[in-house]
């Protein structure tokens, strides 16, 4: 199989969507299973989503929810000896799942590329920044060394590295954290990829630098029309940067919708919990946060039915009784929706009640021992 002209090249310039051939990236019923000593781990279990050119999909979830595993599956980076990947991944009209390694190599860095969380470990310490940016460009376009170097300098300038010609000769350790992440963005975008996967791109950065990098990604996207999958645990990051949001829990997507819908009117009890437990700069700081009780499940033995049901307060309200949540796995509907047995009306009313509760309890109310804590007064008495 030969790869036709890369869509990345064609997409140079703001071309929002290639007309006709459906979404740019489509993932259908993706399942990723690792074989471990303790048994199979279902890291991703039936995930489907689509992404158009020029749009950003935010995948949000806590550690172990399968978000990074998904990104590695799209890039075809899983080790086939220990990992079983099934389902379909189509990128720009071509099949990625089951593609041969040689074909994948031609896609990676060219049509799809990735930014990792820690730029210091993702960059080679032995090669100059300029060379590392030029390398994928030479490989994929066959450009001369000189042209590739020029391109690297141009990319460094674009991502805001001062004196790019000089800094292209530096090694990664000579760059600061924020500059390394900029260099990695330059490397990822050097071939004008159609798809950019950013896995926690700002988690290792300071907050003022994070804001710069997120804004920069947005600006570069407007310019090039790249589709971005933004993977993060931080709801604030997706709120500012994503068009659509997919919330993942225990290897499954539990809610999907536009950023405004998911964050403004969330439907899944897990999303409610996430939003409630995230401290922000506007809510009443004297009000205790309301965390989700319990801990995420082990993927070695995920709970039957809805994976969130052991931590959920709502099974008693589900039509068909609480037993339904532990027996029947709720499906995530197409488009806007949540994978929950609560009816759509209950889901809408649920968040209003949650939000109302948060707003109403402004005064000093009796603190709820939300963390399952013990009786502290007794300890006071010991003194």
């Amino acid at each position: 199989m030969t790869i036709p002209t890369t869509p990345g090249r064609e997409a140079a310039g703001p071309a929002p969507a290639a007309p006709g051939d459906g979404p740019f990236l489509s993932v259908t019923d993706l399942r990723v299973r690792f074989t471990t000593e303790d048994g199979p781990v279902r890291a991703v279990d039936g995930l489907s989503f689509t992404l158009e050119r020029g749009r950003t999909l935010g995948i949000v979830g806590e550690s172990g929810s399968g978000k990074s595993v998904t990104s590695l599956a799209i890039l075809g980076l899983h080790d086939p000896r220990t990992t079983t990947v099934s389902g379909r991944i189509r990128l720009g009209g071509r099949e990625v799942t089951g593609a041969r390694e040689r074909d994948l190599e031609r896609l990676r860095g060219n049509t799809m590329s990735m930014i990792f969380q820690d730029p210091l470990t993702a960059l080679s310490p032995y090669h100059t920044i300029g060379r590392q940016i030029a390398e994928p460009y030479r490989k994929h376009t066959g450009a001369s060394k000189r042209a590739a170097r020029e391109r690297a300098v141009e990319m460094l300038a674009k991502v805001g590295i001062p004196r790019p010609r000089l800094r292209a000769g530096d090694y990664p350790h000579q760059f600061s954290g924020g500059m390394r992440q900029r260099a990695m963005i330059a490397m990822a975008l050097v071939c004008d990829p159609g798809l950019l996967i950013a896995d926690e791109p700002t988690t290792a950065l300071d907050v003022t630098v994070q804001a710069q990098i997120l804004d920069l990604l947005g600006e570069l996207q407007q310019e090039s029309g790249t589709a971005i999958v933004l993977i993060t645990h931080d709801l604030g990051v997706v709120a500012g940067a994503a068009d659509n949001i997919l919330v993942m829990y225990a290897g499954r997507a539990v809610e999907r919708g536009s950023a405004a819908e998911v964050l403004g009117a969330p439907r899944h009890p897990y999303t409610w919990g996430l939003l409630r437990s995230t401290p922000d700069l506007d809510s009443d700081p004297d009000e205790p946060l309301r965390p989700i009780p319990g801990t995420p499940p082990s993927l070695l033995a995920p709970p039957p039915g809805c994976p969130f049901h052991p931590r959920c307060a709502f099974p008693p309200r589900v039509a068909g009784g609480p037993g339904r949540c532990s027996a029947e796995r709720p499906e995530l509907p197409e488009g806007r929706g949540a994978a929950c047995h609560l009816t759509a009306d209950q889901q809408r009313a649920g968040w209003s009640a949650e939000a109302g509760r948060a707003g109403a309890t402004g005064s000093a109310s009796v603190p709820v021992p939300a963390d399952g804590g013990a009786d502290l007064l007794r300890k006071e008495g010991d003194r």
Binding site: T208, A211, Q212, D215, E219, P291
Partner: protein, 428 residues
């Protein structure tokens, strides 16, 4: 070791003893800062109260609000070695360079800043895990700046630490019981009912099952491990806990559980916390007073609401405007969320400079949009700016308006961003 430094102007000199309008040392506390001889007079296993050594101030609990620990002009420089064939000191990382702060009894004092600003070093200095290069630390009126190991014996139990990484700070070969019990053993305390009973109580206090006494750390999740670390810190009934990024390694839903636990401990047990974190939203939720650090110095300090709603230092403005927020981020760029004014947008250029060779004068001036000549020449003192509330101090020659609402024009200093946004504006 001495290094040739030009004497730093201002900072700690020619001003009051502390940044806060703090009353003089507690009436009950001993006046002389000298070392207390013979701390072992009463013996470690003294009395019914499990309070440790028989130091005088140990018997009198500090009243809420009185200064518990005070730092004046605190400095910590780490030597940078280099040269050949003999490695000599060629410079110093000025991790902490003139910090004044006071933590009062029973309060949570938040210390925020970006990586490398010296907040963790400050915490470790106050816990006396590090030896200060200069400056003074007073714990309940007593000078512990250079106190020896022996002199620190009565103080150690009163100042405890909680560390960031619950995977690295617990010994994997010890059971939870052994871990939480070890402070009692080190201090030689035999609580009434025995150590094991006390440990089980502590586990219950932090929301763990006391039955898990004999389990090992690997059997617990990250949040539970952090609770073990907190139980260990509580074992000696400290007056001050230095918590260094205690929730940064945890997932959001778990982080909220631990934040609530810390708040509850502070309120119910009256323990003072020095809460060190980079997450401004978390700090806001636990702290009564907050200090913002930048490159080894405190640039702004005040009570929570003053700092968060009426910041005066440009760096605090930039920090607050950079916090990504789930609730407001969607609407950012256009209008704010219903009923609230849009927040200002400030995008700084570049990263924090190296603390090996910090900028002269105001350290923030290299990234500041208001910097003028005066900023390079003079170190701005940490003082109350005109229009600030009592106790709200800012180290800036040209303080900002005390508001975080949007300005007429965003402050965008990043060259790449400014270029991209400029080209779009012209395209429109």
């Amino acid at each position: 070791m001495t290094h040739e430094r030009d004497p730093r102007p201002a900072e700690g000199a020619g001003r009051g003893p502390a940044p806060d309008p703090a009353p003089p040392p507690a009436p009950g506390a001993p006046t002389g800062p000298g070392p207390r001889a013979g701390s072992g007079t009463a013996g470690p296993s003294s009395g019914t109260a499990s309070r440790t050594a028989g130091s005088a101030e140990g018997a009198v609990p500090p009243r809420a609000g009185e200064p518990l620990i005070t730092a004046e002009g605190l400095v910590k420089h780490f030597p940078v070695l280099g040269g050949f064939p003999f490695r000599r000191q060629v410079g110093a990382v000025r991790a902490v360079d003139g910090v004044d702060l006071t933590v009062r009894a029973g309060e949570t004092f938040g210390l925020v800043g970006e990586s490398g600003c010296g907040k963790s070093t400050t915490g470790r200095l106050l816990a006396r895990l590090l030896e200060p290069t200069a400056g003074r630390i007073r714990y309940r009126g007593r000078d512990i700046t250079h106190a020896s190991r022996k002199e620190l014996t009565p103080v150690r139990p009163e100042i405890q630490m909680v560390f960031q990484d619950p995977y690295a700070s617990l010994n994997p070969r010890q059971t939870v019981g052994t871990i939480v019990r070890s402070p009692l053993e080190v201090a030689g305390i035999e609580p009434p009912g025995g150590r094991e009973r006390r440990v089980r109580e502590l586990l219950e206090t932090v929301g763990l099952n006391p039955e898990h006494y004999n389990r090992f750390p690997h059997e617990f999740s990250g949040g539970q491990r952090q609770r073990i670390g907190i139980a260990r810190a509580l074992a000696l009934e400290p007056r001050l806990i230095v918590a260094d990024e205690p929730v940064s390694a945890l997932d959001v839903s778990i982080q909220a559980q631990v934040v609530n636990l810390l708040r509850r401990l502070q309120r119910d047990l009256g323990i003072a916390f020095l809460f060190i974190a980079h997450d401004l939203a978390v700090v806001r939720h636990v702290s009564q007073r907050v200090a913002v650090m930048y490159l080894g110095r405190i640039v702004e300090v005040g009570d929570r609401d003053s700092v968060y709603t009426g910041p005066r230092h440009p760096y605090t403005h930039a920090l607050l405007s950079a916090v990504p927020e789930a609730a407001t981020g969607v609407a950012a760029g256009r209008e704010g969320p219903e009923g609230r004014p849009r927040k200002e947008r400030i995008r700084l250029a570049g990263d924090v400079p190296s603390p090996v060779d910090p900028p002269s004068g105001c350290r923030f001036r290299t990234r500041c949009w208001k910097a003028r000549e005066k900023c390079a020449a003079e170190v701005p003192p940490l003082v109350r700016a005109a229009g600030s509330r009592e106790g709200h101090l800012t180290a800036c020659h040209f303080p900002e308006e005390p508001s975080v609402t949007a300005r007429a024009e965003d402050v965008v200093l990043d060259p790449a961003l400014a270029a991209a946004e400029g080209s779009q504006d012209t395209a429109r």
